[in-house]
Amino acid sequence: MRPKDHYLNHGSGFRSWAFTLDHKRIGVMYLVATLGSFLLGGLAALAVRTELISRGPTIMSADTYNKMFTLHGAVMVFLFIIPSIPAALGNFVLPLMLGAKDVAFPRLNLMSFWLWVAGALFCIGAVVTGGVDTGWTFYTPYSTTTNTNVIATTFGVFILGFSSIFTGMNFIVTIHKLRPPGMTWFKMPLFLWALYGTALIQVLATPVLAITLLLLIAERALGVGIFDPALGGDPVLFQHFFWFYSHPAVYIMILPAMGIISDVISIHARKHIFGYRFIALSSIAIAAFGFLVWGHHMFVSGQSGMANAIFSALTFSVAIPSAIKVFNWLATLYKGDIHLTTAMIYALMFIITFGIGGLTGLHLGALAVDVHLHDTYFVVAHFHYVMFGGTVIALLAGIHHWWPKMFGVMIDERLGRIGAALVFVGFNTTFFTQFVMGSHGMPRRYYDYLPQYEIYHRISTLGSYVMAAGFFLTAYYLIHSLFRGKPAPMNPWGGNSLEWHTASPPPYDNFAVTPVAEDPYDYSRLVPDKIAGGYTSQTYEGAGAR
C-alpha cells in the first residue's frame, strides 16, 4: 500500500537533504528543528518550575534563574513557536493543497531554513557562553547595560527574523500565483487562508523587530544613546518598537493554529465547515487588527492616558474575529459525525484552552484591571493558555492529522489518547493555578516569593511534570510509528483537500497531473475504503497513487 518511490527515499545522503529544494523535505527538517527547540525550551521550563517548587534557592542561584527563564522564553518564541506551524506543517502541506509542485521560490525556502539554523546557532552559542538574563523582551535600560550576551542573542534573533520574512514572502506569492485552475480564493482550504494572514504579518511586522534589535545592538556596541535618557534617549521608545512587532507576532503564532483547527474539525466530524467566508475573512481581520493594539503591553510603562485608552478599546475589538471562528467551529461540530481520533481530541482541547486564554486576554485588555494584573502570573497564565493551549495543542492536532501523509504510517491511537489526557491534565494544573496565583498578586519572573504563594507554585510544578510525561509519551509513540507504524492509506481521514488525493507519503513531484480543485469541505463523495483502509473517492481517482 505504501508507494515504492516517494519524497523520503528520492535521493539519500546528507547532501540530498541539506541542499534539497523539495518543500516536503524542508518541512520535515523544520519539524525536527522546531521540535528539538521545543525540547530545549521545555527542559528550561522544567528547570524554572523546579526552582520555584519551594521558596528560596532550590536548584540554582538567582542569576542562573534569570538566565533560565530568558532561555525558555527566547527559545520558545523565536526558535519554536513562530516558525513551527508555518515552516514545518505549512511548507509541507501548502503546495500540496494547491496541487502545485513546490512553493514559488524553492531556493528562498531552503535559505529560510539555513537562516533558521544560523540564528539558532547564535542563540545557542550565546547561552552556552554565559547566557542572557534580560527576559525574552530585552527591555532597555537593563538590556543595554547588563553584562550578559545580549548582542549575540539579539543578532541570532535578527537572523531568525529573516528566516521568517522569507517564509512569509514565499507563501504570499505561492498562494497568489500558484493556485490551480478553478481554485478561486474562496475555494481554498482554510489552512491556506490562515497561512496567508500569517504570511502578511511575517512580511510586514518582522522588519520592525529587525530594526529594533539593530538599534539595541548599536546602543550596546556604539553607545548611540537612543534609549538612554541621560543621552537624550527614551527607553519607552524601545517598548513601542519591540511590541509593534511582537504583538502581531502572537498572531503569527495563533493564526496558522486556527487554520489547522478549522480543517481538522471539519474533516474529523465529517461535516462541511460552517461559515467558511467568515472564518476566511476573520483570518485577514485578525492580521490587520493585530497591528493596532501593541500598546496594551505598555499600559503601565509611562505611556500616555490617551494612548492607553485607544489601545484598550482596540484590544477589545481584536477578540471579535477570534470569537467568530470559535462559534463557527462549534456550529461545525453540531450534528457532525465526530470521530475521536487523537487529532480531533487535540482540536477539541484547543477550543477549551484557547477559549480560556482568549477570554483572559480581555481581563488584561481592560485598562483598570491590567494595572493590577500587569507583570503578575495572570499574564503568564494568559499567554501560556493561548500560545501553548492554543498553538502547541493545534500543532499536535496538525501533526497527528498529517502524520500519515508525511510519513506513510498510522499512529497508535490508544497511546495518542493517553498522551492527550496527560497533556490536558498537566497543562491545566500547571497554568490554571497561575491565574489564581497572579490575581492574588504573585509577580512574574521572580526567583523567590512570599509564603502564601508556595502552595500554588507546588501544584503548578507538579502539573508541569505530568505535562512533560505526556509529551515524552507522545514523542515515543510518534518515533515508534516511523519504524513500526501501520502503513497509511492515501486518505485515512476522508479529507477532500488536494493533499489527500496523492499517495502517503507523496511522490517527489507531488502530483503527476495538476489536479482539479473541488470544494475542500465536501465529503459527499468520499466513502470508507474497506480494503485499503481510510477513505476513497467515488469519482476522483487521485493522481500519483501507488
Binding site: 497568489h176 521608545l237 513601542h240 497591528f291 494612548a307
Partner: protein, 115 residues
Amino acid sequence: MSQPAHRQVGHVVPLPVLFGVLGTLLVMTYATVAITYYDFGRLNLWIALGIAVFKASLVLLFFMHLKYDKPFNAMVIIVSMALVMLLIAITLTDTKQYEPNRIPGYAPSIKTNPQ
C-alpha cells in the same frame, strides 16, 4: 523609441519618459534646496516632505514601473508605507502626551537639580 511590447518582454518604458522623469526629479531637488532659504514656520517640514513624496512617486511609478504593473504590487508598497505612518503617528502622539516639558510652551518645565 517606443517598441511594440512583445508579450514576454512586457511593457518597455519609452526613453522620453525616463528622461522626463529624471529632469523633473532634478528640478524638484533644486526646489527642495532652494526653498530652505524661505521660512514658512511649521509648514517647512511638510513642504519638504511633500516634495519628497512627489519625487518618490515619480520613481515608484515610472522608474520602478508601478504605473504599468499589476495593481496589487502597488498595494503592497502602499500598505507598508501606511504601517510606517501608523507607527510614527501613534508613537509621536504618545510621546507628545507624556513629555509635556519637552515641548516648549506646552507646560511648565520640570528641571532636576543639576548639582
